[in-house]
Symmetry: C2
Subunit: 293 residues, 2 copies
């Protein structure tokens, strides 16, 4: 069994991006600029956005954080999106989800100019992903593909089983894995809460991508020898052994599953660190107008 070290890969890619940003600046080019909009004071969202802003600084991007209180109206938030759409200095921006219940996340997501949608959540980017066209790939699917690429893991003709059909992981990663591309070219099965014989299907997988959000769902008796396991789960499970009072737990019962794998991602330190890097890459592409003019 070999570990897929997402933390190390993410650090390496950050260095590559930082180097490219330095070259752009040295050549008198525009510094890539990411803006993040944060509504309210949810602990998770605060942490995610703070990490994104810090990552921007590490690679030499300009970053802007725009904060609203919980009671911001949808109209105010739409006006903010409109300003960011028009701001020529902002190359890409994100509105951190989830939003308060009185604001339509769909409406906000669709209001973002798809050419600045570095989260890859706008229907244009989702559609182009499905069609195999250049686009801003959403962070987690892009991170998974990049890990498979960097570790030279063979995917062509393999059977990839995806657990979960969410709009941000299950569906897009299944599209990418079936695409005529490298990584890709897999036979893909998508399982979810309605799947009846999930153990039987998992046992057929050469590559398993677990994104159900159910801690330790995938047990040792559900994977075949030599499989590749990508664990997307990051559930906070209460723990009295950590200072924070919780432990980040994946969808995979690591101790049982790992001995049977050829490759496996740990949690934390697997897919997680790759997501911010995907956002940085999209922002760099946006700054370079590499996907949309």
């Amino acid at each position: 069994m070999q570990l897929i070290d997402g933390k190390a890969v993410a650090a390496q890619i950050k260095l590559e991006i930082a180097e490219e940003v330095a070259q752009i600046k040295a050549a008198g080019g525009k510094t890539p600029h990411l803006a993040a909009v944060l509504v309210g004071h949810d602990g998770g969202s605060e942490t995610y956005v703070a990490n994104k802003v810090r990552a921007c600084e590490e690679v030499g991007f300009k970053s802007t954080l725009i904060r609203y209180e919980e009671d911001v109206t949808e109209k105010e938030l739409l006006a903010c999106v409109e300003l960011l759409n028009k701001d020529a200095d902002v190359d890409g921006f994100i509105v951190q989800l989830p939003l308060p219940g009185h604001i339509s996340e769909d409406k906000i997501t669709e209001a973002i100019d798809y050419r600045k949608d570095v989260d890859g959540f706008h229907p244009v980017n989702v559609g182009r992903l499905s069609l195999g066209m250049p686009c801003f790939l959403s962070a987690t699917p892009a991170g998974i593909i990049e890990l498979l690429r960097r570790y030279n893991i063979e995917t062509k003709g393999k059977h990839c089983v995806v657990l979960g059909r969410s709009n941000i992981v299950g569906k897009p990663v299944s599209m990418l894995m079936m695409q005529k591309a490298t990584p890709g070219d897999c036979t893909v099965t998508v399982c979810h809460s309605r799947t009846r014989n999930i153990k039987e299907i998992c046992l057929q997988a050469d590559i398993l991508i677990a994104a159900l959000g159910v801690p330790e769902f995938l047990r040792g008796d559900m994977v075949k020898e030599g499989s590749v396991v990508i664990d997307v789960g990051t559930t906070r499970v209460p723990s009295d052994k950590t200072k924070s009072g919780f432990k980040l737990t994946g969808d995979v019962a690591f101790n049982e599953v790992a001995p049977k794998c050829s490759w496996i991602t740990p949690v934390p330190g697997g897919v997680g660190p790759m997501t911010i890097v995907s956002l940085l890459r999209n922002t760099l592409l946006a700054g370079k107008k590499a996907i949309y003019v």
Copy 2:
């Protein structure tokens, strides 16, 4: 074994649409208007477009056919798309594919206003389909779903195997079949030319959707007893027994497969007749501004 009679369902839906159009007109509303752009004189395209125009007339739509010779430039065609986008009387329009090699199909498709894209090929409609949002569904996937719905075929928790990963059938129908919806809620496997153990996977299917474009690919020993088989294939195979000189042949070896099925679509008369009906329905929705304002 029972036949899924696409011809009869399509005729029934046409009646329903015609009735609704008559009501709209009686109430002084606008007659839905579909425009079709046809480039060149390809026999298949001529037939498809003629059938679409005739179907429009049957249900009481207004229709416009715009023709260009094979040597039309991309710029001229883009100008035509722009005119149709702006024409308030045109509710929806299609540009019949394939286009001559010197014209980018992607560029033309993306130039169409997604609110008039009744073929459902624009990235916005593809993305919204994937996200489970209201949209213009592309014709073949929508036709398949409608057949399953009209025949009350149980899909929830079933294993649906899709053969083919094309942008117009395999990928979108796999998205629809996995969606939390009725029909839908299937475990979905997508197979294609790179799939190694395709027979073994087909034998697990409760519902098989064959869209490879390989005549009689699916043989009797590849399906389990009681399965539902949807045949999307329509390849013209040379034949000396027909006046036209060819025979429309599906992806399913019907005589071998049918006896094992609970339900099966014939070719012709199965999925085929449903595709035009899907286009009519999208045009009606466009006319009513039911999806986009």
